[in-house]
Subunit: 305 residues, 2 copies
Amino acid sequence: MNHIELNILGCGSATPTAWRYPASQILNVRGNLFMIDAGEGVQQQFRKFGLRFNRLKQIFISHLHGDHCLGLFGLLSTLSMLGRTDELIIHAHGDLEALMRPVFNYFSRDMPFPVTINPLLPWKNELIYEDKAIKIYTIPLKHSVPTCGFLFEEKRCLPHIVKEIIDFYQIPVREIASIKSGADFVTSSGETVPNHRLTTPAAKPVRYAYCSDTAYTEKIIPIIEGIDLLYHEATFLHRDYARAKETSHSSSKQAAEIARKAGVKRLLIGHYSARYSESTPLLNEARSIFPETVAAYEGLKMKIG
Amino acid sequence: MNHIELNILGCGSATPTAWRYPASQILNVRGNLFMIDAGEGVQQQFRKFGLRFNRLKQIFISHLHGDHCLGLFGLLSTLSMLGRTDELIIHAHGDLEALMRPVFNYFSRDMPFPVTINPLLPWKNELIYEDKAIKIYTIPLKHSVPTCGFLFEEKRCLPHIVKEIIDFYQIPVREIASIKSGADFVTSSGETVPNHRLTTPAAKPVRYAYCSDTAYTEKIIPIIEGIDLLYHEATFLHRDYARAKETSHSSSKQAAEIARKAGVKRLLIGHYSARYSESTPLLNEARSIFPETVAAYEGLKMKIG
């Protein structure tokens, strides 16, 4: 069973529309929630889609444009009111510290939990977080301000125990850890039960990359090669490429070209310009190059892998 | 014809819910939009309800709790992107300047319009704005931080011209201004046409007061006596009065008592606690004391007067 699920909270871009929310996603890794970008209204979306504030573990901010981080103020104020005590780590450009901490402190007086801001080096592809389930790396992107994406790389799970066989041989609990690590089992009568009868392999670990905001850049391809799901911004239709270039964004066609060249399994597009009232033309443009494309929308949940 | 209309953009309180927005209203005074409080998501609501950003004239912030002002960041950033050039005046507690201006400047680089912050003295009942259509006064409120409400007092319009009579006597355009000011008209044959035949009186000027957030305080009664519409917060049902007292808020019953004692024409309640999934019980509680009560909801438009 795979436990990695992506929730789209917002997939609009800078100019507001009546119904779209600015950038924010939640990656649910075996029950721990990782927030990727935090546009205005993220706390409302969080609640709307039934996510639990006490499961929020860390926040990853790609860059300091308002549509990617202005929801932090309300979110932190609410976490304070709800009495969070766990440390909250925000990975973001170093400017966030001086710019936002005074506001966090003002609107969350007596904040009951520590907020640690981990300054990113957006020009580097480096490991920034690791726990027993996942490794998270930065991906340098090409935008009008220092920006990085994030690669989430699941660690391999231990194999699953075959309960019927364990019961049949009455294998004691103390043996389970070594069996999960690959050991055979020897019965009291000296019979060897090989490990492959005692276990079934765990699901293959998955990889997800978030690439927004960015102009077309093939430099990211070696980092995202063959991954299970790529989110790549597709702010414009290719007919509006002049505007994409001017603002350091990508067209939907370019997102699809990156997906094809990197050989990823699936592509998810988003960060749509407010000029498009619906995403279908952007989706069609991408699918003509990379058929395994999905268009993000607020409320979308996707199992990865 | 009366041109004052109130638009409710948000009437929730501090804790977010899936569908309510935090405090924000727009008072449309003869085409000029005055924003009262600016909770998170206000720019999205502004667009959702078909309001025009270029009509936004001034912003009035009652107090510096996040649910009343965290929408300013996104709003100002969007006004910059839309190329606003008109000065924007924000009336708010003086702390806003040091706290928010660095963030405004960061997210709206090369802001094309000046932002002037007018520091309020929330303990005073004083005139803070006046133009040819309206006067706006502060109303000292009783809350956990310095807070004031706002009284909007329309100025009397000039009377309307009776076009048929003007045409009948072929009165020249240059006479219209003095007729509007009360003059009679004398024809070339010496006949006097009295002013009351040439004009009909303008609508009675209206008054609207916004009182949020506040505990019950009768000190506001002399300021709001007899007004056309009172918005008064009703965060809690009276059965939860202990919580209202603790947080310096009002119960719905208390809002109605203020309305009754001040002899206002209509009461509008809002700022509902997230604990109530709908506003009907709060409305019923207020109506049992003050029948002319309306419950605010996102998207409500009310003509005043």
